[in-house]
Symmetry: D2
Subunit: 205 residues, 4 copies
Amino acid sequence: MAKLYFYYSAMNAGKTTHLLQSSHNYRERGMSTLILSPAIDQRFGQGVVQSRIGISAPSVIFHGKEDLYELVKKQPPVDCILVDEAQFLSKAQVFQLGEVVDQLHIPVLAYGLRTDFQGELFEGSQYLLAWADELKELKTICHTGKKATMVVRVDDEGKAIKQGAQIQIGGNERYVSVSRAEYKRIFHDEGSIKPSQIALPLEDL
Amino acid sequence: MAKLYFYYSAMNAGKTTHLLQSSHNYRERGMSTLILSPAIDQRFGQGVVQSRIGISAPSVIFHGKEDLYELVKKQPPVDCILVDEAQFLSKAQVFQLGEVVDQLHIPVLAYGLRTDFQGELFEGSQYLLAWADELKELKTICHTGKKATMVVRVDDEGKAIKQGAQIQIGGNERYVSVSRAEYKRIFHDEGSIKPSQIALPLEDL
Amino acid sequence: MAKLYFYYSAMNAGKTTHLLQSSHNYRERGMSTLILSPAIDQRFGQGVVQSRIGISAPSVIFHGKEDLYELVKKQPPVDCILVDEAQFLSKAQVFQLGEVVDQLHIPVLAYGLRTDFQGELFEGSQYLLAWADELKELKTICHTGKKATMVVRVDDEGKAIKQGAQIQIGGNERYVSVSRAEYKRIFHDEGSIKPSQIALPLEDL
Amino acid sequence: MAKLYFYYSAMNAGKTTHLLQSSHNYRERGMSTLILSPAIDQRFGQGVVQSRIGISAPSVIFHGKEDLYELVKKQPPVDCILVDEAQFLSKAQVFQLGEVVDQLHIPVLAYGLRTDFQGELFEGSQYLLAWADELKELKTICHTGKKATMVVRVDDEGKAIKQGAQIQIGGNERYVSVSRAEYKRIFHDEGSIKPSQIALPLEDL
């Protein structure tokens, strides 16, 4: 029975690696998959999903207004659909992925962030958390040793950036995955984070 | 290490039973608990949490504007806090429960619905899904045999009610827990549900 | 799609409450269930499953050599089968429950302990851990505040009993659910546990 | 709080990829890890853990009689220990990993198969299933479309091999991950599996 899965995590937890491994598992058994990625994320060129750990696969790009149910119906039949950066889906697109599951009976694995740098849900995440059949966490670690569940946007001095667009690609900001307690220390209590605790620039967004 | 847990489900899954069992487990080992319930739900009288299966326990009532961090600090120290009907929490109150975990190091178990009768997240659920350390589903069954993940509000003829206040206590409406596919059949496609498939009136809201 | 679920825990976590709630959920939606319990556990009389929290339901008793696949086929058709004290199943009976799922397409929810007082798997638990489609933990708490995952058998002075039959009903022994670290302190390092930390006698075995 | 995790799955689910990603996450945040792999698996040379998807990392080899608690204490301090092919651990070694968690407070992530080609638990898996703090499934897919939870050993004609050593490296046998229903069709009911449904030889063992 097909289901809609939402694999959520903070940044740099390995979402894309998990997506690529799952696609690989299907293909290895002689089945076919379709990888979807939003147009917003074109770091690696049109139609490539790439993991920090060094693996990649081609994807079909979709745009913000595109009907994903229609998109899937036009493609050759597949056994599984995988969506990268699913936090960027619109409400309508999450509904359409539900239709892919319920009408076409194809499992959909959507991978995305839970919250943005202000602690608010992304639109895609909000409706995946509301409507997915299964919510699965991909765990990662905060530099404090706790589980990292939130993402803070910091400037060159490791101070929280508190205002700005939800999506900002390019620039000098860095994103750091931290525990909720550490998030509050930096975002609400004017703390800062040391450069050595900041993993890598804009890797997984 | 204390954590904020969100146990979510559709209606009539046994959330309150799970809450009462967890509280019982703590008390049986000589530890103490505090059960919180929102003022909105006064079916069973002030300060009682009651499960459909026939068990109950006293609770402390909180109001919509109340600061739960301050409320907890004023109570005698406890080993665990349990929140019934957590979908009715405000954004501020979910933040305050996070503070109870992160500052007072008391685990918080919050139990609530994911979505309302229109498929939208409740405010409390939205921020628990965003900020909880652990999301745990309590499963229940749709009359179609699938897992029930959504709640539909129906009239006397089993037709979906599509408009109205998010919270409506009293009246002839009934709530039914159904799968996403069945929800769409009733809510979007004008289907109806037979009276025999409707469990019981307004039991768990 | 029917599945074989193993809900495992230490003692006194609320396994029977969870079983009774799940059965209640099915029946409330107009579906039927069958509760099975092993002949070994006759504390509450033949054919009753009872939770410490004060709820109960009738069950069908099975014996150690009984073929559960044949037993189920002889009963009127049901929508779900629930097995209490599943640690006492034989290897053959776990296989037969798998056949109920795979041939008759009825979901089976089996509830049981993981390990005995010596830290070894029960036969039923061993094969449920090997063959179940889903392993789900029901959490409970150790008096140290950690999660309790093991069960220690202690004498009147709170010292570990290290030898004896795996199943021992009656007598002055007590069972206590503790974390792995606390288990080792008591069982391996000759520690003891205070009477006040011992919940209740032989409640859930 | 450190925990002992058992990530279990059938073959070719991506256990080693998950292990390498988790190690990468720690190192990226400036923390250190230790990867352990059993001497039995020397396909890729001494001291290398390699994933089918094309990534690898150096590991420390351990032997069947080695005391892993002593081994870890002799190494420089680390923030996380990851164990590949954990099904090959002895009972004593699983106990020692529990001591690493409970005495040294270092989290241990062990990755392994649940069952062998005869459906029996490996020794390492048996005691990880008994004593781990968290059991986490890594899912993979059967060629029938169901979840694969078991491993069948087949000959050149796709017929089940029913006897033989639990561990057999080299030779013409192939291992295939299948659902429990498909396992029984092949192993018990003399069915066979088509060569096209057999993924790749001896990849993940």
